[in-house]
């Protein structure tokens, strides 16, 4: 059964009966079926070890599914040739809990890095980085090194790097995991702005407050399976919660 909310737009991400078993024998995902339309904002929630990170790893093709198919923008990730992978990743903006900034590069250089690998000309890099810095409200911090920034600022640099090449998808794995609630909320506002511009956002998170406040689409993963897919959901299942309370 494909759990798909009643969106009228064409899906840009599709999981069809996806299974993932690691070489150690751990079955991380079982029969995942999911469709994500263009412009959607989707929270992946669930307890640790439920399979959220595996799902993200499959989406960025760090892993291949053991069985089933994953389509992103019409490309079947499992069958994509290795040499095509860099070109796929250029369509995606990635944000991680540990920011993955390069400590020996300045803020400007870190963001410009995503454009340098594309071979963009210098003048183009300059204007795009300035624009990205403006979006994440970090103008004036170009020459600062990551070590001299707060956690929230570092995550904003990571987001600027993820969006500087105008990707169609943003995939975020616990982007607020290392941040205090106020900073986490600021970061979420950024993601919402990016989403409002048309980018599809898939975010794995443990942040219950934010999920409950935003009331966006929530896909709950439990024991490697899609346990729930609510178009405007909460972190915990309302019915289950009421049953617990009762």
């Amino acid at each position: 059964m494909v759990l798909t909310p009643d969106f009228d737009t064409r899906p840009v991400i599709t999981f069809q009966h996806v299974f993932k078993t690691y070489p150690t024998g751990t079955q991380a995902l079982r029969d995942i079926n999911l469709e994500v339309p263009q412009g959607d904002f989707l929270f992946l929630v669930g307890p640790s070890g439920a399979g959220k990170s595996t799902l993200v790893r499959l989406l960025i093709r760090e892993e291949k599914p053991t069985r089933g198919k994953i389509f992103v923008d019409g490309i079947e990730l499992g069958r994509m040739k290795r040499r095509r992978l860099p070109f796929y990743r250029r369509k995606v903006g990635l944000v991680f809990q540990d920011f993955k900034l390069l400590p020996n590069l300045t803020v400007y250089e870190n963001i410009a890095f995503a454009l340098r690998v594309l071979g963009e000309p210098d003048h183009h890099v300059r204007s795009r980085v300035a624009e990205a810095l403006d979006t994440v409200s970090l103008s004036g911090k170009e020459h600062t090194y990551p070590a001299n920034l707060s956690g929230g600022e570092q995550q904003r640099v990571a987001i600027a790097r993820a969006l500087v090449h105008a990707p169609r998808f943003i995939i975020a794995d616990e982007p607020t995991g290392n941040l205090d609630p106020a900073t986490a909320w600021e970061i979420m506002q950024l993601f919402l702005r990016i989403n409002a511009r048309g980018a599809t956002v898939v975010m794995a998170t443990h942040n219950r407050e934010i999920v409950d406040l935003l009331r966006r689409r929530v896909v709950a993963i439990d024991a490697g399976q899609v346990a729930r897919d609510d178009r405007s959901g909460r972190y915990h299942d309302d019915v289950a919660q009421s049953q617990v309370r009762a």
Binding site: R82, P86, L94, F113, A114, V117, G119
Partner: protein, 297 residues
Amino acid sequence: MMLRNLKFALNSAWQSFWRNLAVSLAAVLSITLILILAGINLLVGHAFSQVLDGFRVKVSEISINVADDTPLQTTYEFQQQLAADPRVISVQFVTKDEALARFKADPQNFVLAQQISGNPLDAKLDVQVKSLDDVAAIDALGRHWSGVDPTDPTNYQGDFVSRMLSLSSWLNLAGIALMLILVIVSVVIVMNTIRTAVYHRRKEIEVMKLVGATEWFVRGPFVLEGVMTGLIAAAIALALLVVAYEPAVARFKSDIAFIPLSYDPAFISSLARDLLLGGAMLGALGSYIGVRRYVRV
């Protein structure tokens, strides 16, 4: 775009070389030592090939002794036949009188020359053969000639020549084997040094891959860094070898005088070319292999 990528790779390689100076210097030192050994191998090989060439010239000249009763016409005909042979460089006819004069002119024969009465020496054909491998065939030709002195047909020393040939091929083989060992050892050293550098930068590589860098975009700076390391090492090794070359030859000559070793400044340019090319290639190959594990997506 290619140029921009090359500029980026060159910048990254240069920065990385200086940023990881300790690792870079370790790599330079290792490759320098390997290249010095390789350079010594080349220089010794060249010196011995010079010595062997000298011997070769000597042993590839044989004398075919002409019997006293052989008509001059027959000797001239055989001389022409030999001169027309493609294996032969030159043939010189030495008369009995010339042979005696040469014998007497040699100071080593002074005492013997005093005791000689008449001319016991044969007239001879001195044949210069192109290749050492063909000397035996020319010797056989001479021995089968009707005008040859049957008691002492030629001065060909087959054993000596074959020993020379086998020594020369063994030396070549030993040189190649030593070179091969040096290449393998240096590739392993460079590979491990670069792997250490890559390990320090694995986070950077991970980020590069995540933002969509191609394998060559990631690998390029490391390979260039390897080339740079190899070239610096080659330049140091070359400088040390050039400085030590002439005094080492002089010392060798004074210690072991019977081996006619000589200093050959013309060889330095070919040594420079080989070392620089070798250093660059070793650096590139070591880096290519060293970085492969981390670059594969």
